[in-house]
Symmetry: C2
Subunit: 311 residues, 2 copies
């Protein structure tokens, strides 16, 4: 039996206040105390745009993990983790768009950061966003935060692993080295597991870590869920790169095919890629069931949303 | 009375095994588990080069802080902190050398990372090094590390602050915005306090944090020491940019003047800058005295080394 998911209306009702919290926190935190010439590109890169999928995964996973007994600090930890992972995501987009990488001029319907602030400004803003992600989770003024040091250290560990050479950055390096080459399905899967999947999976695991100690069964279930929707996300991304237009995507469509990048569509065909996304969704929902956690409806609904999205 | 410093021989005898430990740890850790195309530029950027001043400051500060009672985890924590701060330093050099920043082709007597591995490779390697700095301090497999979570969280907080928008990255942004403009001494000092000073100060504070709880007097003394030698380092850098040649420096000499960057030499003249370095050294040594810590001879000797260095 697959885990029960909320209807899209129920999901929307839950998402609205969660997104409002995240936006308010980002508005307050991003670039605070930075020199104006740095704060501006940092805020431009993060605020007023983005689906906030990773923060929502953190918050939904914290909700599920907290259903076995929510500690007092859960909300604070989850909000910091949610914003931290979003800053990592945002920095990766800034650097990814730069001329030496994808050389993209359009993101979320706006000029990319380097187009607006110059390459040096984009480079520094990305670097500072990565540092701030860790600052948010382990703030220097620790007395302001009720989150136990154990939870902070675990969140840092999960985020650093997901972002680094054995996660997102590692996947980007494989991607970079693979342009114009033919990857097999196993290699393509490994690249995406790292490039996009690692941070999505980290989001789910960070949400779970906010609750403190969790059973091994619950932890394993959430980890498997994160891995499956991490891959599903990328499969859908590859489908959308072919089927959607730039205006809907808010970024340049068709660029992967144009750059001769290996994609799931190139490998499996359009129908095959769609079937693969459905298979991964079923796998994600089965993992939620196996976690034994009570309150997984938000996570299940987000998984459906990831596969059904049109941008 | 100024704090007693080791002679240069005593310092060398202490440094030799410390540097060997740091090099061995970096050799083991940097880029481990990363795809080869990423591990290679990461390791090129870090290994086999560099004065390792920041790691030495961490280790010397841990020694001083541990002189009031060294906890069992002190050495492990200090080694991880030492390597973490060095990875942040290394990433900042990689990104700083890129064409959109200083466009430098020579570093530590070798071609810079982007010259050797391309701009995209340098960008990704720098990003991955920053993430790994935090991974080293808060490893995911926490059971392998005896360092208490409280110490891990504090080390992450200090490093993230020192590296980020209110630290190194903030100083670089001010630097970038100031090219061709005339900065007053206060503004120049603020830029350098962030750009170079913040990470050097963080090194000292991280070393102190490795010991766990420390008295406020000791903490304040070490912080003031770190701030003073952070500034002294940059003043000496500005002097060397004018007086040393590229072969000795292992990087391009005279580039600040050529880029019309504001420097202490431009502001105070060569003799004035040298006098300022001496004043800051005296200030640093006085702060060590005020810390009340017993074993500050290594820190004092490093401070002398910073001011007397020729590269």
């Amino acid at each position: 039996m697959a885990a029960t998911a909320w209807t899209s209306t129920e999901l929307a009702d839950w998402m609205r206040p969660q997104l409002a919290r995240v936006e308010a926190a980002l508005e307050q935190w991003v670039g605070a105390g930075a020199p104006a010439s740095l704060a501006e590109p940092m805020r431009y890169a993060v605020l007023d745009g983005g689906k906030r999928l990773r923060p929502l995964l953190v918050l939904a996973a914290a909700r599920a993990a907290g259903s076995v007994g929510a500690p007092a600090w859960l909300d604070d930890a989850a909000l910091r983790a949610a914003c931290g992972v979003e800053l990592i995501h945002a920095y990766s987009l800034v650097h990814d768009d730069m001329p030496c990488m994808d050389n993209d001029v359009l993101r979320r319907g706006k000029p990319t950061v380097h187009v607006r602030f110059g390459e040096a400004g984009a480079l520094l803003a990305g670097d500072a966003l990565q540092a701030q992600a860790f600052e948010l989770i382990a703030p220097l003024d620790g007395t302001a935060v009720a989150v136990p040091a154990q939870v902070q250290a675990r969140l840092v560990a999960l985020l650093a692993r997901g972002a680094g050479a054995r996660g997102m950055a590692g996947g980007q390096a494989i991607d970079l080295a693979s342009v114009g080459r033919r990857l097999g399905e196993a290699q393509l899967r490994e690249m995406h597991r790292l490039k996009t999947g690692a941070l999505l999976q980290a989001s789910v695991e960070m949400g779970a870590a906010c609750a403190g100690e969790l059973s091994a069964v619950a932890t394993d279930g959430l980890r498997a869920f994160g891995a499956a929707i991490g891959l599903a996300f990328q499969v859908v991304d590859d489908v959308l790169d072919v089927t959607a237009d730039s205006a809907t995507l808010g970024k340049t469509a068709g660029k992967d095919a144009a750059a001769d990048k290996p994609t799931y569509v190139a490998l499996l065909g359009l129908d095959g890629a769609r079937a693969e996304a459905d298979r991964l969704l079923a796998q994600a929902l089965a993992a939620l069931d196996a976690s034994g956690l009570a309150d997984t409806a938000a996570l299940a609904a987000l998984a459906h949303m990831v596969v059904a999205r049109d941008r």
